[in-house]
């Protein structure tokens, strides 16, 4: 069931475009922002509001790398693996993180707190290596800095604080 508030928001987004079809990606963002990932139900709901066949909405979802079909950790940490960052050790950071957390890519830790993703050039290569925590940029990553980041985030989670 789609909440009335979200339906309202969706309608407002749809009204903002000259043609309704343009609203599908913004709506998927809206659903993912609120639910953390895009379940079959979420896709069916967006399809219903958009008046699109669900197969087409799924096509859109699966094409774009920022849409996730499975739940991620509460803190999703992504590291850029493209050339400029890699030249400055970005891939080592990625490996370091995965070893620390003992997870594969886009796979949450058992406590659901963290997941790690690899992303392509984030257009901040001057600050390489670059990463994101729940889509907020973080840069000049070092193994020690990443360890501190994990500790901070864990503390924040235990303190009952909100997301990053």
């Amino acid at each position: 069931m789609i909440s009335e508030a979200r339906r309202q928001k969706a309608m407002e987004i749809i009204r903002g475009f000259p043609q309704k079809s343009s609203a599908v990606i913004p709506l998927l963002h809206l659903w993912q922002d609120e639910e953390g990932y895009l379940s079959d139900d979420a896709i069916a709901e967006v399809a219903e509001i958009m008046g699109m066949p669900p197969a087409e909405v799924q096509e859109v979802v699966s094409f774009y790398s920022m849409f996730h079909r499975r739940p991620l950790g509460r803190y999703h940490i992504e590291v850029c693996r493209s050339l400029s960052c890699a030249l400055m050790g970005g891939r080592d950071i990625l490996d370091h993180l995965r070893r620390r957390l003992g997870v594969g890519l886009n796979e949450p830790t058992p406590d659901g707190l963290f997941s790690v993703g690899a992303v392509e050039c984030l257009a901040r290569c001057d600050l390489a290596p670059v990463g994101q925590v729940n889509l907020e940029y973080t840069d000049r990553l070092t193994p020690e800095g990443v360890d501190r980041l994990l500790a901070d985030l864990r503390a924040r989670a235990e303190g009952g604080g909100a997301g990053a």
Partner: protein, 745 residues
Amino acid sequence: MIHLTVDGRAVEVPEGTLILDAAKEAGAEVPTFCYHHLMRPVAACRMCLVEVERRPKLEPACAVTVAEGMAVHTKSDRVLAARRGVLEFLLAQHPLDCPVCDKGGECDLQDNTMNHGRFRSRYEDPKIKKRKRVPLSDLVVLDEERCIVCQRCTRFMEEVVEDPQLALRQRGAYTAVSTFPGRPFDSLFSGNTIEMCPVGALTSRPYRFRARPWDNRTAESVCTHCPVGCNLAAQERDGSMVRVLSRENPDVDGGWLCDRGRFGYRWVHHPRRYLAPLGRERASRRETPLVWADALEQARAALKAAGPRTAVLGGGRLTAEGQMAARRLVEALGTELVDHRTGALRFATPPGPRARIADLDRADRILLLGVVPESDVPVLDLRIKAALRAGARLAVVGERRTLGERAAATALVPPRGLGAAVEALAEAVARPPAAAGAEGVEAVAQVVAEGERVVVLWSGEAGGAALARLVQALGERLVGTLVTGGAPSAQGAARAGLERGRAGEILAAAAQGDVEALVLLDDLFEDAPDPDLVRRALERVPFVLALAHLPTESAARADLVLPLAAPVEMSAHVVNLEGRVQPIAALLPPPGEARPDWEVLLDLAGAVADRDELVAAYRALPEPAFVAEEEEAPAPPPPGALVAVSGRIPFDSGVRWEEGLRTRLPRPYAAVHPDALARLGLRPGEAARLKGGGFEGEVEVRADDSLPVDSVFLPRGVIGLPAGRLHGLAVELEAVAAAAAAGEA
């Protein structure tokens, strides 16, 4: 005209021609994968790259049009290298299961590799694992690893069917075709994707591993499941039909088949086919096989004795030859008790000019009167959509909404309200245009009145006299009318004069004891408005003779059954809704002693003629004239009542004879508008009790927002549901107590 050279050969082609077609004209075959001549080019596979002088890059011949003075090379070293490159890339991830692939022998990838590859195949690389044998539906299975992402299937569903149930998933090398999880690929046109898939990625589940194409023998035939008459290629192996392919006829089917036509061929091998004449003793129901001579003797004697008191019912499924032979029989008997319209069809002949299917392509207005194209004439649904994309506007008058938002105007009428609505439409069209913002019939009139090339599709079930007035009002603006109702070859039966009386009255007379012999050319129960009346008539008539393929409900009650050959078992002609006479060729011999319909009917008439004579005689007949007939206005239903409306569905109980379509066998159901469902306290999928017109039975409830809120849709041709009889009557629908439902299930 544009002048160009292809590999040095000069050709002249019309402006807008694709390089691909110009090359063909010049005798140069350019290999393709993604291009399909019935869809827009996408230039994705890059197989067709050719060199155009003075252009830096190779160009896709499937997407680039010719220009004056162009010099094209299709065999230069650059072109051949690019082609080999594309093939090599496609093979790099392709599984090596060709020996077990159903497409083997007719795979574009195999063929193109054979003709254009000739490179030593490169190193084995770990292939990307994808899913194999993914059932997309009961009819279509997908092998993702074989897919070359040509997008023909997805484009077909999007561009042609306008129902994108198939879409691509992922991107890059992981791209694959898929449906949405949990939703089957249940389009009525799904089978076309199998045929157009250039590789073995989409294959037919019924056909799976049945045969290899080189072992198949083919005959050109025509689909006899509906009045469109799509052209098809029927294939058999070792005496068994294995599949049906489209045999594109631009004037009729536009290159497509619906799944009923494509997968509905196994009935000819049903173990209960009648193989020999059969006598049946009424009291004991004992059946005795007879030799033809004795059976014919017996039949002729009985018919002769009955003479003009013989009724001949049905005939809309006969070949044109059979329809002519039936005419001879009717003439010999001197009977007027003849009608092929045993179902809901009332008028087989339209007032005014007839339309051709191809007229739809040039129409600027299409008017549907009581027709639901997807159910009644499926492949025309695609043609209408194409016409609408080309700019035609659609107006609908009917008991159900159809083609959704594509209709510029829709007038939803109550059950049995078609006649009155057409009457109002004729009046409105004759009047000066109504103000903007009109609704219902007025809105339809507005759309139609603006047209200059109007094509009408009419069910022929009601509103004949009214349509005649509309035809008059439209005058020159009307291109013509197609009548979609009745049996597949109802137009042929009408032309052959197999409509001298009214089936309903004839049956009533028979039930009264006024008919001495009854010749059944069709199953009377399938479409019967009143199955009880049929039952009583069959019991009362002293001699019932059935010409049949299978033990239908009617044939199973006959005193004498004469076995008929199926359409793929004879060379003859069939007539479609345009009145087009299309040849069919025998693929298989008839089983046992079954015989072509015309032979049996000639024998019964004691006449002699050959096939050519019959066809010539058929063609020489004049067009039947439209006969206006008064129709009684339906009694208004009690206010607030639910009223039944019936209509055809693509997969009716006829599929009980089809092993490949078993999963499509319909159970009796009743569909109502979701709002009405809520009001009745019913949920979709639930069992409910349907009552009305003396009938009471259990049905599954479905939601259907194409209906008015006070209508109940009942499918025709579903055993156990007298949809025709209930049509127009007030009915009740109530939930079966959950416990009772469980008990019965």
